[in-house]
């Protein structure tokens, strides 16, 4: 992004619309926490004041998929739950992104059995993978910054 304050008195900036929208979107992430398992504790630790996810503009979780633009899938997804996750994803408005939080959502983790989905990317597209069992808050914030880079860098739908 190319912001130049030409003069303090006049104070205007030049930019490209694509960059400006990306900049706005990456700092106003409204997340839908789809919390199913133990990773939820680490998600809460990240969201609370100690690590303070609000520093990255992601401080307001919405509990309706229609109001959110980042789907945080936190915890193991079973085959019974898979249609629900797909429906939640379909209900979200564009533009939308998906974060796979924890190793169970990335690959199925150590659950190699009849019950567990082997990675949510078999059902819905995933933008950022945060591995770990569970991932530490630093790891989550790193993933969040990766997502911000991705949002900033992509072609914006207007």
């Amino acid at each position: 992004m190319n912001i130049q304050a030409q003069d303090r008195q006049e104070s205007f900036v030049t930019s490209q619309l694509n960059d400006l929208i990306g900049w706005a979107r990456k700092f106003s992430i409204f997340q839908y926490p789809f919390v199913t398992a133990c990773c939820g504790m680490e998600y809460m630790a990240t969201a609370c004041s100690h690590y303070d996810i609000d520093r990255f503009g992601a401080g307001l979780p919405r509990f309706s998929p229609r109001q959110s633009d980042v789907l945080m899938v936190v915890g193991t997804i079973s085959h019974k739950l898979a249609p629900v996750l797909k429906q939640i994803y379909d209900q979200m408005c564009d533009p939308k992104w998906v974060v796979a939080f924890g190793v169970c959502t990335c690959t199925g983790g150590f659950y190699d059995n009849y019950a567990t989905v082997m990675g949510i990317d078999t059902i819905i597209p995933v933008d950022v993978y945060i591995p770990g069992c569970p991932p530490r808050p630093e790891n989550v914030l790193d993933g969040l910054m990766k997502l911000q880079e991705k949002i900033q860098g992509q072609k914006q739908m207007v």
């Binding site: 085959h79 019974k80 898979a82 249609p83 009849y114 989905v117 082997m118």
Partner: protein, 158 residues
């Protein structure tokens, strides 16, 4: 003393008893399970008023008959005493009497055992799957269920 009482009352229908450091176990024939439980619950010297757990074990690897054991864990609040009852159920006649009329909690326990092991409970008011989805075929905790056989509702098969 408790095991003696059971043996005295049910004679040859009690196949085996053991007392390992106060951990009382009785193996019985499945035909008497309802009478036995009624007796254990109502007898004033025993008063086993709580059904702590109801589960099953598959002994396929031991190749024995009967193949399954249905295991009941009882607890007596007035006497502070625990007791384990095992009843063998074979694959060919995979039915045992339901205990819902004695303990309402048996309702969900028995649905779980039906779901996971395929053991039917005679007299259960609504014997259907409780953990897996209705479309699921087979019973996943049976030892002859393939360990990674998945039956996803949506998404790829494996």
């Amino acid at each position: 003393m408790i095991l003696e009482k059971i043996k005295e009352k049910f004679l040859d229908d009690v196949l085996e008893t053991s007392d390992f450091r106060g951990d009382l176990t009785a193996v019985v024939k499945k035909e008497i399970i309802q009478d036995l439980m009624k007796f254990l619950k109502s007898d004033s010297a025993l008063e086993f008023n709580i059904l702590m757990d109801l589960t099953a074990v598959d002994y396929l690897w031991q190749d024995r008959t009967p193949r399954f054991d249905v295991v009941y864990h009882l607890f007596s609040l007035p006497k502070n005493q625990r007791l384990r009852i095992k009843a063998g159920v074979d694959e060919k006649d995979c039915v045992i009497d339901s205990l819902v009329s004695l303990w309402p909690i048996a309702n969900w326990f028995e649905r779980e055992v039906w779901d996971m092991f395929g053991i039917k409970f005679k007299g259960h008011p609504d014997l259907k799957r409780i953990l897996m989805y209705q479309q699921f075929e087979g019973h996943p905790l049976r030892k002859d269920y393939p360990i990674i056989k998945r039956q996803p509702l949506i998404g790829p098969k494996n």
